[in-house]
C-alpha cells in the first residue's frame, strides 16, 4: 500500500468510526460520570444523549471544521450540553472538573481508532484529528457553561433591581425606602422614581431613606442619595436619611463626603420620631375647627 491517502481521509476515518461504533461508544459513555450523573432516570436516556453527541461530532468531522466551535454540528447538541453542564455545576463541580470529565470521553473512541485498520500514518492522523475534535468539544462545553452562568447572573440582577426597592408607607403622609445592598446608578434611578411616585400617591410630606442595608457609601452613592433627597424636596417632601452605621459615618468623613443640608438620623426609629414631631408641629400651625 504505497498510494498517498487523499485529502480529508483522516476526517472521514474519524467520522466513519464515530458512526460505526456509535452504539458501542454510547454504551461506554453512559457509564462515565458525566452522563451517568446527569441522566439519572434511565440508562437508555444517557445512551441516547451519547448517540446525539457522537452524531454531532461525526458531522463536525465530516465538515472539516474540527477546530471551529461555531461549526454547525455543535449547534444541535448545544442545548443538551448546557443542560449537562448546568446539572454538573449544581452538584458542586467547578468548570475545570466538568472539563476533565468531558476530556475523559475521549478515551473510548481513541482506543477504537487505535485498533482500526489502515497504515500507521493514517492512524496517527486520525488520532490527532480526534484529539483536536475533542479539544473543540471541551471548549464548546465550557463556553456553553459560561453562557448559562451569564444568563443566570443577568436574570438575578434583573430580579434584584425589581425586588430590592420597595417603598413602604410608615404613617399617614410618611413614606420610607429601606435600601438593601449596593447602590449603583441603575438602582438609585429606580429608587428615586419609586420614591417620587410614592410621594405623589400617598401625598407624603416626609420621606425616609434608610441605608442600614447599604454595605458601603462612596462618593457616587452619596451623590445618588443627595440627588434623591433634592428631587423629593422639589416635590415638597422633606427627606431624612437614616441608618448610617458608625463605620460608614467614619468612612464618609475620611473621604470628605458631605451630605450638605440633608437631615440625618442614626436609626429608622429616630427618623420616625423626627417625622412625627414635625407632623405634630404642622398640626399645631392650624387651629382645630372646634
Amino acid at each position: 500500500m504505497t498510494d498517498v491517502p487523499p485529502v480529508g481521509t483522516a476526517t472521514s476515518v474519524v467520522a466513519r468510526l464515530l458512526r460505526e461504533k456509535k452504539e458501542h461508544i454510547a454504551q461506554l459513555w453512559a457509564d462515565q460520570p458525566l452522563f451517568q450523573a446527569v441522566f439519572t432516570v434511565t440508562r437508555d436516556e444517557a445512551v441516547e444523549a451519547g448517540r446525539a453527541v457522537l452524531e454531532a461530532l461525526a458531522q463536525v468531522a465530516e465538515s472539516g471544521r474540527v477546530d471551529d466551535i461555531a461549526a454547525p454540528g455543535f449547534a444541535m447538541i448545544r442545548q443538551q450540553l448546557a443542560a449537562m453542564s448546568t446539572s454538573r455545576t449544581r452538584s458542586g463541580l467547578s468548570i475545570g472538573q466538568i472539563d476533565r470529565e468531558v476530556g475523559a470521553l475521549g478515551a473510548a473512541p481513541a482506543e477504537f481508532l487505535e485498533d482500526a485498520s489502515g497504515d500507521t500514518d493514517e492512524r496517527v492522523r486520525a488520532r490527532l484529528l480526534w484529539s483536536e475534535l475533542l479539544a473543540t468539544l471541551r471548549v464548546v462545553v465550557i463556553e456553553t457553561a459560561l453562557q448559562e452562568n451569564r444568563e443566570i447572573v443577568e436574570r438575578q440582577r434583573q430580579q434584584l433591581l425589581e425586588m430590592a426597592t420597595p417603598v413602604v408607607k410608615l404613617w399617614d403622609r410618611l413614606v420610607a425606602v429601606p435600601l438593601i445592598g449596593m447602590l449603583d446608578s441603575a438602582r438609585s434611578q429606580v429608587v428615586m422614581e419609586n420614591l417620587l411616585e410614592a410621594i405623589v400617591e400617598h401625598n407624603a410630606t416626609m420621606a425616609i431613606l434608610d441605608i442600614t442595608g447599604v454595605p458601603t457609601v462612596d462618593s457616587l452613592v452619596a451623590q445618588h442619595l443627595m440627588k434623591t433627597v433634592a428631587a423629593a424636596r422639589l416635590m415638597g417632601a422633606d427627606c431624612v436619611i437614616s441608618g448610617i452605621r458608625p463605620a460608614i459615618a467614619q468612612t464618609m468623613v475620611q473621604l470628605g463626603l458631605d451630605l450638605g443640608p440633608v437631615t440625618t438620623r442614626a436609626t429608622l426609629a429616630d427618623a420616625l420620631e423626627l417625622a412625627l414631631e414635625r407632623q405634630s408641629e404642622q398640626a399645631k400651625g392650624i387651629a382645630p375647627r372646634h
Binding site: E193, A204, M235, Q282, I286
Partner: protein
C-alpha cells in the same frame, strides 16, 4: 410692562397670591409672569406666593431660573414663595440638570402651602393637618 400682561392669572386669596400654571409656559410668558407677580406682591402686600406647577410636565433650565427669580424678588418684598405640586419626572429632570433650586420653598399641595401662611383650606369636613398624630379616640 403693564400688570396682567401674562397669560397666567395671579389670584389674590387675601394676603396670599395663588398662581397656577397650566400647560406649557413659553419663555416670554414666564418673564411676563415674573413681572406680574412682583407687581402684585407690592400692590397687595401679600405675605405669601403659592406657585402651582402640577399642570407642567416639563420645566427647562430657563423656567427653573425664572421661578427662582420670582421667589427671590418676592422675598425682597417680604413675601415667601412656595412651589407646589411638582411632578416626579420634572423633579428628576431638574436634579439631573443640577438645578435643585436651593433657595425655593416647596410643598406637596396648595392646601399644605396655604397652611404655612396660617390660611386653612379644607376640602372635607375633617381636619387634614391633625391626622397622623391625633389617632387616639376622644
Amino acid at each position: 410692562m403693564q400688570p396682567g400682561a401674562s397669560s397666567v392669572p395671579v389670584l389674590d386669596l387675601g394676603g396670599i397670591l395663588l398662581i397656577s400654571i397650566q400647560g406649557e409656559l413659553p419663555d416670554d410668558a414666564a418673564v411676563d409672569l415674573r413681572t406680574d407677580v412682583t407687581l402684585a406682591v407690592s400692590e397687595t402686600g401679600a405675605r405669601g406666593v403659592i406657585i402651582d406647577i402640577s399642570g407642567l410636565d416639563m420645566v427647562d433650565s430657563f423656567l427653573a431660573r425664572v421661578l427662582a427669580e420670582v421667589a427671590a424678588s418676592a422675598r425682597l418684598l417680604a413675601a415667601q414663595a412656595v412651589l407646589v405640586g411638582m411632578r416626579p419626572s420634572v423633579a428628576i429632570t431638574l436634579v439631573e440638570l443640577g438645578l435643585a433650586l436651593p433657595g425655593l420653598e416647596t410643598s406637596r399641595t396648595v392646601i399644605e402651602a396655604a397652611s404655612r401662611f396660617g390660611v386653612e383650606i379644607r376640602d372635607r369636613g375633617d381636619q387634614p393637618a391633625a391626622r397622623g398624630t391625633d389617632r387616639t379616640p376622644t
